[in-house]
């Protein structure tokens, strides 16, 4: 039971990460490797503001991540609009490395740590079984955020514009959608999502180093590819699947658990062989990227 809970918890976390990536991809066809650095900066901010009340600490982290996201958009990605996904991908890779090195210079190469939300450690009993508090809280947080995002995307004007822009940005502009504002919103929201991922991760692993957010971002990207690269639902679903599988592998592989990533990637390979466009796509669909 705990294993399933863990899997859902990890799946939810990865879904949030993938959703943040998917938002930006949807409006700009940009695969933002630097999203990892948004997660990392959130974790750093939470660690250095750990003496403040948790909510305030988180708000600062979310603000910081959102600001960083917007700045990267203004300074770099805006100039690369229209150059094509490959160029933007490489740029985001370069930006990611650049930010990592900046963090090294600012925070130092050695990990910073602090016990964030220590009330989340420990476990409790329910119906005769032991559960960890952190997994329950994480599941609750991710469900809450995913529901909120779902509402935002499906039922608000902003969400409608995001969905339209993800399908066909040019036509959306013809109808009056303000491209700069929309893209800025997408980046800001992705920053907030990154902060929530950063929070969840730093509770589990209080050691924050410059490469903190890298692993989950790479896997979340893989998740987006599995789930269907041009749909927000697909992104969240793909991210969830990756997190879920990873958690199950970690639990049941025992000694071979170090190979969890290898098995995961193999699973990804198989999924992509059957559905090159992603799980939510139709067979043999080649996305128009």
């Amino acid at each position: 039971m705990q294993a399933i809970l863990d899997a859902i918890s990890l799946g939810g976390t990865y879904a949030l990460a993938a959703l943040g990536l998917g938002l930006v991809f949807g409006v700009m066809r940009l695969v933002n490797f630097a999203h990892a650095e948004l997660i990392t900066i959130s974790a750093y901010l939470m660690v250095v503001t750990n003496d403040l009340p948790l909510l305030l600490s988180f708000l600062l982290a979310a603000l910081g991540a959102a600001l960083l996201a917007i700045v990267t958009e203004l300074a770099i990605y805006r100039r690369l609009r229209g150059t094509g996904p490959a160029i933007m991908l490489i740029a985001s890779f370069g930006l990611s490395v650049g930010l990592q090195k900046s963090y090294e210079l600012i925070f130092g190469a050695l990990p910073r740590s602090a016990a964030v939300a220590p009330w989340m450690t420990g476990s409790f009993e329910f119906a005769g079984l032991n559960f960890t508090i952190s997994s329950i809280v994480t599941v609750a947080i991710t469900i809450a955020i995913l529901l909120a995002m779902g509402y935002l995307i499906e039922r608000t004007t902003l969400g409608l514009q995001l969905r339209a822009a993800a399908t066909d940005f040019k036509t959306a502009r013809l109808l009056g959608v303000r491209s700069n504002r929309l893209i800025g919103s997408a980046f800001a929201i992705s920053g907030i999502l990154a902060a929530s991922v950063g929070f969840i991760l730093v509770v589990e692993n209080p050691q924050v180093d410059p490469m903190f957010g890298l692993n989950i971002t790479i896997l979340a990207l893989v998740g987006i590819v599995i789930g269907g690269i041009s749909s927000l639902r697909g992104a969240a679903l793909g991210g969830f699947i990756v997190g879920f599988i990873l958690s199950i592998l970690n639990t049941y592989l025992g000694n071979a658990r170090v190979y969890a990533y290898s098995y995961l990637f193999l699973a990804v390979v198989i999924i992509l062989l059957v559905r090159p466009g992603g799980i939510l796509s139709k067979r043999n669909e080649m996305e128009r990227v």
Binding site: R29, V31, I76, R79, L80, T83, P85, A86, I87, L89, I90, A91, F93, G94, L95, V97, G98, K101, S102, E104, L105, A109, I218, L221, V222, I224, V225, I229, V258, Y259, Y261, S262, F265, L266, V268, V269, L272, L273, P276, G277, G278, M286, E287, V289
Partner: protein
């Protein structure tokens, strides 16, 4: 108008000998200055081969690959394992669980390098068979997964290798002539591939994904061919690297290597062979200068105090800067030409 089209179309001696002579002269010239520079040249030649490998695939197809480090990893592993001394393999702490046959496994250095290329090509062929079915962006991300898979495997596996530690006592190249010869051979191979009809078909698909099949071009097939060839060259690059470094360590072929070689390709210009050469040259030179400054030395009378780690930051910044300024790279997509002047404004 035809001259503006990026990519070679038929044999032009200048376009082949330009890069060859440049690499030859610079390697010998700089390598003769000091021992540390000679080492830098050796590493640069390894990077050059990898950048050329990337150019073959990424440059011609327009599809990104972050996975070539995996082929280098494997190529380096097989060449290192086949040439490291038996005594070390049998006794080193890191290799206690090594699979018995590997201890006695021994190949001549040059043969092991060929094996490395063959292995790189094979793995590229196998993974490419499914990777090429994905569209460009998904393929790029999937290659990242490929890199991660191999890294994870080698990092944790202590039966086939030293795991997270180093395999020591790998024989090194004496001087620069061997890696230089290999690099020159790579340039020749890639040049002749780039003017082949396969490469031309591939470039057609890069320009227009929908039109190419209408010309009877099977995009998957030509991409796969380029991917396989680039896998062989990546394997070569890894094998060269392990004989320059003298040890095999899985971290050497992971993110930093991937980022650096990709940066070299982008900064030089991915559309041409000459771009690959120029990119490697520029980034290596800048990296060396930055390294000297980091160490507190002066370069041509100029001295800058750089904190450690600033080097990668500057290279990353240059990468992004180049993309903002001229995303076809320094060479702007052109092959080597004389006189080498008059940069075109990119459209």
């Amino acid at each position: 108008m035809m001259k503006d089209v990026a990519g070679l179309t038929r044999f032009n001696a200048r376009e082949l000998f330009g890069p060859l002579v440049t690499v030859l002269i610079l390697s010998i010239g700089v390598g003769a200055i000091s021992a540390s520079l000679q080492l830098a040249v050796q590493f640069a030649l390894c990077n050059l081969v990898m950048v050329i490998a990337l150019q073959v695939f990424v440059g011609n197809s327009g599809v990104l690959s972050f996975g070539h480090g995996a082929f280098a990893m494997v190529g380096a592993w097989v060449s290192g394992m086949a040439t490291a001394s038996e005594r070390v393999k049998g006794n080193a702490l890191a290799l206690q669980e090594l699979w018995q046959p590997l201890i006695g496994f021994r190949l001549n250095l040059y043969i092991s390098i060929f094996v490395a290329m063959a292995l790189g090509a094979t793995i590229a062929a196998l993974t490419g068979a499914f990777l090429m079915r994905l569209n460009g962006l998904a393929a790029g991300i999937a290659t990242f997964a490929l890199l991660g898979l191999f890294y994870n495997f080698f990092f944790n596996n202590i039966t086939l290798g030293p795991g997270s530690q180093a395999l020591p006592a790998v024989p090194k190249f004496q001087g620069i002539y061997e890696p230089l010869a290999m690099a020159l051979a790579a340039i020749v191979i890639v040049y002749f591939f780039n003017i082949s009809s396969t490469a031309r078909s591939l470039r057609a698909s890069r320009e227009d994904l929908l039109a190419a099949p209408a010309l009877g071009v099977s995009i998957q097939r030509v991409r796969w061919i380029a991917f396989t060839i680039s896998g062989a060259l990546a394997g070569l690059s890894g094998a060269m690297y392990v004989h320059v470094a003298g040890t095999w360590q899985v971290q050497d072929y992971y993110l930093v290597f991937t980022f650096l070689t990709l940066a070299m390709l982008v900064i030089g210009g991915s559309a041409s062979l000459w771009g690959a050469v120029v990119g490697t040259l520029v980034v290596t030179a800048v990296g060396q200068i930055l390294l000297l400054w980091e160490q507190g030395k002066s370069v041509v009378g100029i001295q800058l105090d750089l904190p450690n780690g600033a080097r990668s930051l500057i290279i990353a910044g240059s990468l992004v800067g180049m993309l903002l300024w001229r995303f076809a790279g320094v060479t702007n997509g052109k092959e080597f030409s004389i006189p080498f002047s008059g940069r075109r404004k990119s459209s």
